[in-house]
């Protein structure tokens, strides 16, 4: 099957990024946009835009019926779900299949089995991959029992969650009932599945994930790992590849575990297997698998030279894997900073509004994935990601310095941003040394650090 036209069921920078690859491949694009996104950058870049509903995601980007209707009406060959929204909802994959449209991603069944974090945990265990102690909880009483068994602190996680959404850390038993309620409500709103589970909170770990590609017939390759340990409240802020300071054997075992996990289910498409790495013990635990393209995929592209979206499309078209494991030879180091519309001075409160002026960094080794230009509007209905700045260098130091300059050269006016958070982290000695754990950023913000603001020009 040849893919001539794709419907993009997403918004923001990822919609722009998918359009970019489609243009290069000569594929027409149809953007499914909500009312408030009709004048957005992706809407202008797409060959056609269809307004699928009002601003609220529930009525637009999460509306399977409207999206499939748009796909059929626009006579597309395939639907690209991006990340978030319906990307990991079996309903969209299923509805696409029923309507003769290819879904650029795994099968509905695979989405179901990895999307249900409890089933994914069981699958990991069956594949001989260690998991963090925990269990599902249906009631407050159950939650208290599980928390007592695995020990405090615990993480409350959404069974249908991912990307750090719907996660709450609980230190005291008396806080558990309300945390469960809030997590259920957040999970229900964000994923349409209010079930939650508890996991022991590992205090000193690193978040390392492995990018994989599968042909859906049992062939799986990996494209190396990404270290996403710089997080604030379980939201990734800075990612880099390769993960600094891992032993060769641990790195290899991570890659192998990820491939094994995906191959056992004959995974189709691009996916990411996330691990919690315990450096001191040279050990790791399976966290979850993300059955979609990840926000931070560009750093893998930077070091491997592979266009992951293009491979996703090829796999959906039935071409299988066009690359063998031996074709993947990552070179150099890449780092990504997520630029968010949030006010660092006021507890990182989201800062929707109008961008009055913007100027992104340019230069060798710099890539900026964004949908933000002057006069762009950042609506309050969606997440606060404005751009991803990716810097490449042959060595880690060089990539970091490239990023430092790129952040200083970035100008955004009209909304508050987290640019100075990035400058502060980049100028931190511990971060410069590499290998920080997931608690690094919280400790840095607690101290409090010397706030670094750098502006070029």
């Amino acid at each position: 099957m040849t893919i001539h036209r794709i419907l993009i069921a997403n918004r923001g920078e990822i919609a722009v990024r998918i359009i970019r690859t489609c243009r290069r491949l000569g594929i027409q694009t149809v953007l499914a946009a909500s009312e408030v996104d009709r004048d957005s950058m992706p809407a202008r870049l797409a060959d056609r835009t269809l307004c699928i509903g009002p601003a609220r995601s529930r009525d637009s980007y999460l509306n399977v019926g409207a999206i499939v209707q748009a796909a059929v009406a626009a006579r597309v060959d395939a639907v690209h779900p991006g990340y978030g929204f319906l990307s990991e909802r079996p309903a969209l994959a299923k509805a696409c299949a029923q309507n003769g449209v290819a879904f650029i991603g795994p099968t509905a069944q695979q989405i179901e089995s990895v999307g249900d974090k409890l089933r994914a945990r069981a699958a990991a265990q069956a594949g001989d991959i260690p998991v963090v102690p925990g269990a599902a909880v249906g009631s407050t009483a159950e939650a208290l029992a599980v928390a007592a068994r695995v020990g405090l602190p615990v993480l409350v996680k959404a069974v249908g969650g991912g990307g750090g959404r719907g996660m709450k850390r609980v230190e005291r038993l008396e806080d558990l009932p309300y945390a469960i309620q809030l997590a259920q409500s957040e999970a229900g709103a964000a994923f349409g599945d209010a079930r939650v589970y508890l996991e022991r909170f590992v205090t000193r770990g690193r978040h390392v994930e492995v990018q994989i590609l599968g042909d859906g017939r049992g062939q799986v390759i990996h494209l190396g790992e990404r270290d996403c340990s710089v997080q604030r409240r379980y939201q990734k802020v800075i990612e880099e590849t390769p993960a600094p300071g891992l032993s060769d054997s641990l790195r290899r075992r991570l890659h192998e575990a990820a491939v094994r996990f995906a191959a056992r289910m004959a995974y189709r498409g691009a996916g990411t297997v996330e691990f919690l790495v315990d450096i001191e013990r040279d050990a790791f635990h399976f966290l979850e698998m993300n059955a979609r393209i990840q926000v931070e995929h560009p750093i893998t592209e930077a070091v491997s030279g592979v266009d992951l979206v293009s491979e996703q499309i090829a796999i959906a078209a039935g071409e299988g894997l066009r690359l063998r494991q031996s074709d993947i030879r990552p070179r150099g180091c890449a780092i990504e900073c997520r630029v968010n519309a949030e006010d660092v001075a006021h507890d990182f409160r989201p800062s929707p509004g109008h961008v009055s002026a913007v100027s992104w960094a340019v230069g060798e080794g710099i890539r900026v994935d964004t949908h933000i230009e002057a006069r762009a509007r950042i609506p309050p209905f969606y997440d606060s990601l404005m751009a991803k700045i990716i810097a490449y260098g042959t060595e880690r130091d060089a990539a970091l310095e490239q990023m430092w300059r790129a952040i200083a050269a970035t100008r955004i006016e009209g909304v508050a941003t987290n640019l100075s958070l990035h400058s502060t982290v980049l100028a931190d000695r511990q971060f410069q040394l590499g290998g920080v754990d997931t608690g690094f950023l919280a400790r840095l913000l607690d101290r409090p650090p010397i706030h670094v603001e750098a502006r070029l020009g």
Partner: protein, 170 residues
Amino acid sequence: MTLTAKDVAEITRLLEESNFDELMLELDGLKLTLRRNGFAAAATSSNAEGGTAPFSQCGRPQTVSADQGLTPGAAPAVGPAPPIADGASHNISAPLLGTFYRAPKPGSPPFIEVGSTVEEDTIVGIIEVMKLMNTVRAGTRGRVVDILAQDGALVEYGETLMRVGKAAAA
């Protein structure tokens, strides 16, 4: 630009060891500002430069200026109500713009009703913004006399959600 991230890490250490709170440096077109006390310090200074309207702290009602609105050309019909300063009642206003919910989840009883008594830390609602649920606390003591915000409605930053009658001095 000759000043590297490594250089700045070094400068940061010097500042840490010094008696100064702030250091500004201009070199090769790079304007560098270092401030002790982290991100809170940034609140008072640099934000206005970037054209950002500074927000007030959570729970402290403030009249929202035009440039804080989402779409200056299409301002919502209902603006934030001015705080009542009669001393007899207190407004609980939205700490941020988003979708207001009165109950922890659909179908659950609301956190509070008219007539409920609230303490400073009583949860009175949830505001969903960018898929995150933010708890709204009363921030005052007393009896709820009026609930203005509709469940599931978009509320603006600073918009009055409910009014609380002052508790008699205990």
